[in-house]
Amino acid sequence: MAWTVRFDGGTLVLHGAGKDALPDGFEWDDRIAAARAPACAYAALVDRCRTDTIELADEARAYNKLPDLRHLGTRTPREYQKEAVAAWRAARWRGIVVLPTGAGKSFVAETCIALAQRSTLVVVPTLDLLSQWYGNLQAAFGVEIGALGGGRHEIRDITVTTYDSAWMHMDKYGGRFGLVVFDEVHHLPASMYLRAAESMIAPLRLGLTATLERTDLRHELLTDVVGPVVHRVEIPDLAGDFLAPYHVEVVSVKLSAEDERQYAELRGTYRQFVQSRGIRMSAPDGWTRFLIEASRSREGRAAFKAFLAAKAIAHGGPRKIAMVRQILAEEAGRRAIVFTNDNATALKVSRELLVPCITHHTDVKERRWILDAFAAGDVRCVTTSRVLNEGVDLPAAEVAIIVSGTSTVREAVQRLGRILRPSGDKQAVLYELISEGTTESAASERRREHDAYR
């Protein structure tokens, strides 16, 4: 008896299979009197039909074989890149490759895409990465590349999208790709994004990341939707070979007398409220409780405003901007990236120092212009809030200035990755500006405990 399978809003609907002998992942759906499974059960279904010689009318698969797809590059893969690709292939084309930033993750992905020769979707966290992958893939394969996100909506045999767009659109396009590549795959375990992965039939799956482990342990969920870790290269394995040496300079910035007075007053308002409501901010639900309490009364709202205002002073006070100005003057001629914690500070740096600024408001075209001008040396400095953190190619950056950060260890590593990239014979410097006597000093201490800072 033949089975029929079709794609329906991120799921598979199967007609013909008996109610009591459903294939793995399928459940009986009374609403339609047929069997249904999340779309990611596709590979197992096809396997099952092959093993049990069940005839399957496949209306779900909407992806193409691409027999003419060739990698046009002439680069020879490095040994560890070859190993990574081989390990992924040996794991039946499913799994995660862990490589440090700067170790050529995209080249590994391109090699896998060329091997798979199937319609491919590349999912990335940010619009910067979208435009970067778009350019890289076009150069690698010499074909038109599709883009979904950042105001573009073109589906092609090789398409790049963001996690957000994937979440919104995979109910529609989940049948269209045979291979899916998750760049910075540690983003995927957010439950929204996991659903995007479940809504795709793609039997071939590749995850890429420099920092797989999450503090919430949710990375363990990836095994089901992407596959196991098939290859792992750690930072110490590579240091000295491909990554340039760097050093960290912590610069202590004193608040101005006026800022110091305001800071103390604002923190006082905030602390008094927190104490009066008996909230322990160090408890796991401390922050949530604070938000709830803060929304309930006038004092609460005032405390919340005070909290934000204090943070703004610590993160981007005028003394800090002046310090950035000074460092840029001292480092004249070297390419610098200025990282801030929020858009407002990035804009302030941009307005006062007249350097390009990238925030999430910056559209894809302007990002491209800025990154190209930076690569060409037409501008010497770029400032950005967190959006640039991950994996965007800025090969010539030799100076990084962290104006403010509440970053977790992961973000700090990603930021370091940027200036770890080889560039000439000059040593890279990471400046970290810390407001003296504020909560920032403690956060900075915590960050330096990670491996990558040693």
Binding site: D8, G9, E27, R31, I32, S295, R325, L328, L354, E366
Partner: protein, 401 residues
């Protein structure tokens, strides 16, 4: 739409009570009027400035969240655009390049030093414009800097209605599914509802409870986990439900850490400005009923519009059901539909049934291939031939379960 932090609802005895407002409550109506007047008089102003001006109206009192919600809905009805002497992007690129060409700014602003002013002066000279407004124009395209160019909001009654509807919609964001009942609904009304269900890519399960048609709405993947994944689709579906003459809904929603039940009906005061289209009742149905009854065939005729499922790919809402001695058959009238719909209907009928459905199809759509039509199809010009339908009904009727 209202975002999560703007939702006002209380919970009592596991029931959710949305913080509805009434146009009769002076302080809400007046505040709604103030907000509309303030934004309405702000054409040409920067968004950040309008927001600042609104601060005074929104106040800092216990109703702040409510007023923030009203303001949000008014902003949703606004259009903002960039206004600047030089296109901001072009200006930025010139300024950045000029600034990079001159090297880092001087640490101290002294006579002849490299300052922001000297960079702007050089760019202004290049463009032949006044340097004064340039620093402000640099980011004139950012959302906060954009200027109000159109204001499409209605009056305070419109805003109050929109607010109440948006409150319910925001609660539905967190709902895993929606249970609705339609009382004595016509087939055209049920089709209108199911069209919206399909449009929002939702799934339904239908059952008859007395006079009511009961529909459970969720999404394809709800089978595997009950999540709020389809909450947005349920919220967008809501206005179509509100258009119905007699309806009720229940849903389990999230309010803070509680999971209360939300229950509403046609008397809850919800109103929508969605156009009420496609619920028109054709004359053919009435004429047919008259003629069929006159045949005195022993088949009873009823108008039970319970939808019949076609393998999850399509749905039939019968115009009539025929019953006799435990046997049942249905009739669907395809009069004013498009040809594409009819072809689709015939192919689904072949694939998934139901076998006991008779289709009355306007002759306009089936003249060419009359011979190829399945036996279940009865073509008609103006009046549906009752006798022919009866013949077909007797041929296809099945025992009901």
């Amino acid at each position: 739409m209202l975002t999560g932090e703007l939702v006002r609802a209380t919970v009592k005895d596991s029931k959710a009570r949305p913080g509805f407002i009434s146009h009769h409550q002076d302080r809400y109506r007046e505040r709604a009027e103030d907000i509309l007047a303030c934004v309405g008089a702000s054409l040409g102003k920067r968004r950040a400035d309008i927001e600042e001006e609104l601060e005074g109206i929104l106040g800092d009192g216990v109703d702040r969240k409510l007023f923030d919600g009203l303001a949000k809905l008014v902003f949703d009805a606004c259009e903002f655009a960039v206004q600047s002497p030089v296109p901001p992007r072009e200006l930025r690129q010139r300024v950045w390049l000029e600034s990079a060409r001159r090297g880092p700014l001087s640490v101290v602003d002294v006579e002849g030093a490299n300052t922001t002013a000297s960079v702007f002066a050089a760019v202004a000279a290049e463009l032949g414009v006044d340097p004064g407004p340039l620093p402000d124009a640099l980011y004139a395209d950012h959302p906060a800097e954009q200027r109000l160019t159109a204001f499409e909001a209605g009056n305070s009654q419109w805003l109050v209605d929109r607010y109440n509807l948006a409150l319910v919609q925001a609660l539905l964001f967190s709902a895993p599914r929606l249970d609705i009942r339609l009382r004595a609904a016509t087939p055209a009304r049920v089709r209108q509802v199911l069209r919206a269900v399909k449009f929002h890519q939702l799934c339904f399960t239908a059952s008859r409870v007395g006079e009511d048609l009961h529909l459970e709405l969720d999404g394809p993947a709800s089978l595997f986990s009950q999540s709020s994944r389809y909450g947005l689709a349920l919220a967008r579906f809501l206005p179509t439900l509100v258009l119905q003459p007699a309806w009720s809904l229940t849903a389990v929603v999230a309010v803070r850490r509680f999971k209360p039940t939300l229950s509403l009906d046609q008397d809850s005061g919800l109103r929508t400005d969605l156009k009420d289209v496609g619920a028109y009742e054709t004359r053919e149905a009435a004429w047919f009923a008259e003629r069929f009854v006159a045949l005195d065939s022993g088949w009873t005729l009823d108008r039970d519009p319970t939808p019949l499922n076609q393998g999850g790919e399509g749905v039939v809402v019968p115009d009539f059901s025929f019953r006799k001695g435990g046997k049942v058959a249905h009739l669907e009238i395809l009069g004013f539909w498009r040809k594409g719909t009819i072809e689709n209907r015939l192919s689904l009928l072949k694939k998934h049934g139901p076998r006991n459905l008779v289709l009355a199809v306007s002759r306009r759509y089936c003249t060419e291939k009359a011979a190829e039509l399945p036996a279940q199809v009865v073509p008609f010009a103006e009046v549906i031939p009752a006798k022919l339908v009866l013949e077909r009904v007797e041929a296809v009727a099945v025992r009901s379960g």
